[in-house]
Symmetry: C2
Subunit: 301 residues, 2 copies
């Protein structure tokens, strides 16, 4: 495994590895796992998928300033390079790309990749500019690494939807591979931000996965359930934690992320839906979701 | 020369040609000339430059709807496929990519590549959304063709500045190669839109190149000339045509395209400047420009 810290060197390393691992009949493929570091088993599952699907596995570790709002946690976002490198090595990564902010943004960036509509709701509504920052940095990483596949966790389901739209619209020759959410044994979705939680908050945060679990159960039992009833159920369920502050608790079409009218009968829909939560526990905002057939059957997109 | 009409086929053709023309020591390079067709000698000069610099030359012919405003000339933009193909063939083109609008935009596009600041002035100010349309379609073409070089005429100097910014900001592994304006013998800059001009308008349109010529002469003679004096000179000079309607006649820094204060002494500047004109003759809007050292010496960027 090689650790690469400059853009120029990364281009050269990918090129060289591609050459080395290609044969006359088969051009070696590259899988990229873009991350912000402080890696956990969710990231490990992405790397494992990447090693299954590609001949060369690269991960990027870059806490991208332009996807954070002015009052968000860019400065205090957790970092642990040594542990990250150990985890990457263990999971069969060939190249770890760790550029500096100065290398990625040598001058203030004037160009942005923006995806309309899909970014108007959920985290896009709560975090203005966030997805522009994501799609822009992902485009940069794609142009540097030139992967055949890129792996993203569906904990950030909106991110997956946005990036798939981007890849399709801009004819990027890359397949976005979404990978299922990885959870702690007690249900908490893995996130680098879980480290922010106090013991009390960590316990209360279980209300997220529990609510998602219970609402699915309810949907299976109550065939005539409407979108409005799902929302009400979620608010009540999350309200059981007295420190949980709901940012959103919503059900939308997936992957189009279009709002569903309150009286929409879910069983009548012919497309998937996402139930998505963003909830603050103290200073820490956590997200979780499930993507479903409309009869309450969980899907791994 | 091969004419390719679908995105999938174009990817395959480029890949195959690259393979065919590469050797162990040298990977064949691809040069792309993006055009809207109705080709003229300006385009021919781009193709010639492309054949000099690259092993494989592709041109695209695509009248891109999303770079036209609602009251602009998308529908009546001139087209002549047969003549275009003959000119491409004559100039050593390997692949002509002519996608349909349906292939490029199968569903309404949600993703845009936008370049800030540089697009606020000149044609960007007169044609809102134009450059978003340009940078978006060029990104699509780049992702389909994956060229090493892309060739653009400096008649669209702002386009060159915008695309260079985009390529730098997004780490596209592509060199934008600007090529000098090609003119008729009497000075008129070549443009597919010249075909719109009546004989009278065609004659009056010479005021553009004449004004650019005269203002350079004036700058060489009058060392203390200010930006304001250049603007006044241009207005007077273009005013000599009684049908010319000025959209803009301006002098700005290049390639940053920052406005110069009226009292800026040009001789004191340490960067290049552009004198740029957009003028309507009847229904037809023409542009022309010259990029200069600040002492009135024309440069080919």
């Amino acid at each position: 495994m090689k650790v690469v810290r400059s853009i120029t060197e990364m281009r050269a390393e990918v090129k060289q590895l591609r050459k080395q691992r290609s044969t006359i009949d088969h051009e070696a493929t590259v899988g990229l796992v873009p991350t912000m570091g402080f890696l956990h088993d969710g990231h490990a599952s992405l790397m494992q998928k990447a090693t299954e699907m590609s001949d060369i596995v690269a991960i990027s570790i870059f806490v991208n300033p332009i996807q954070f709002g002015p009052n968000e946690d860019f400065e205090r976002y957790p970092r642990d390079e040594k542990r990250d490198l150990a985890l990457a090595e263990k999971n069969g990564v060939d190249l770890v790309f760790m550029p500096s902010v100065e290398d990625m943004y040598p001058t203030p960036i004037k160009t942005h990749v923006t995806v309309a509509d899909l970014t108007d709701t959920l985290c896009g509504a709560s975090r203005p500019g966030h997805f522009d920052g994501v799609s822009t940095v992902v485009t940069k990483l794609f142009n540097i690494v030139k992967p055949d596949y890129a792996f993203f966790g569906t904990k950030d389901a909106q991110q997956v939807a946005v990036l798939r739209q981007m890849v399709t619209d801009l004819n990027m020759d890359i397949e976005i591979v979404p990978c299922p959410i990885v959870r702690e044994q007690d249900g908490l979705a893995l996130s680098s931000r879980n480290v922010y939680l106090s013991r009390e908050e960590r316990e209360q945060a279980l209300v997220l996965s529990r609510s998602l679990h219970q609402v699915q159960q309810q949907m299976r039992e109550q065939e005539e359930m409407t979108a409005g009833q799902v929302r009400a159920f979620l608010r009540t369920s999350i309200g059981q934690s007295d420190i949980a502050e709901i940012d959103y608790a919503d059900i939308l079409s997936f992957p189009r992320l279009e709002s569903l009218a309150e009286d929409t009968l879910l069983a009548t829909l012919d497309h998937e839906v996402i139930i998505a939560l963003a909830v603050k526990f103290g200073r820490t905002r956590l997200i979780d979701n499930v993507i479903l057939e409309t009869k309450g059957v969980a899907l791994h997109v």
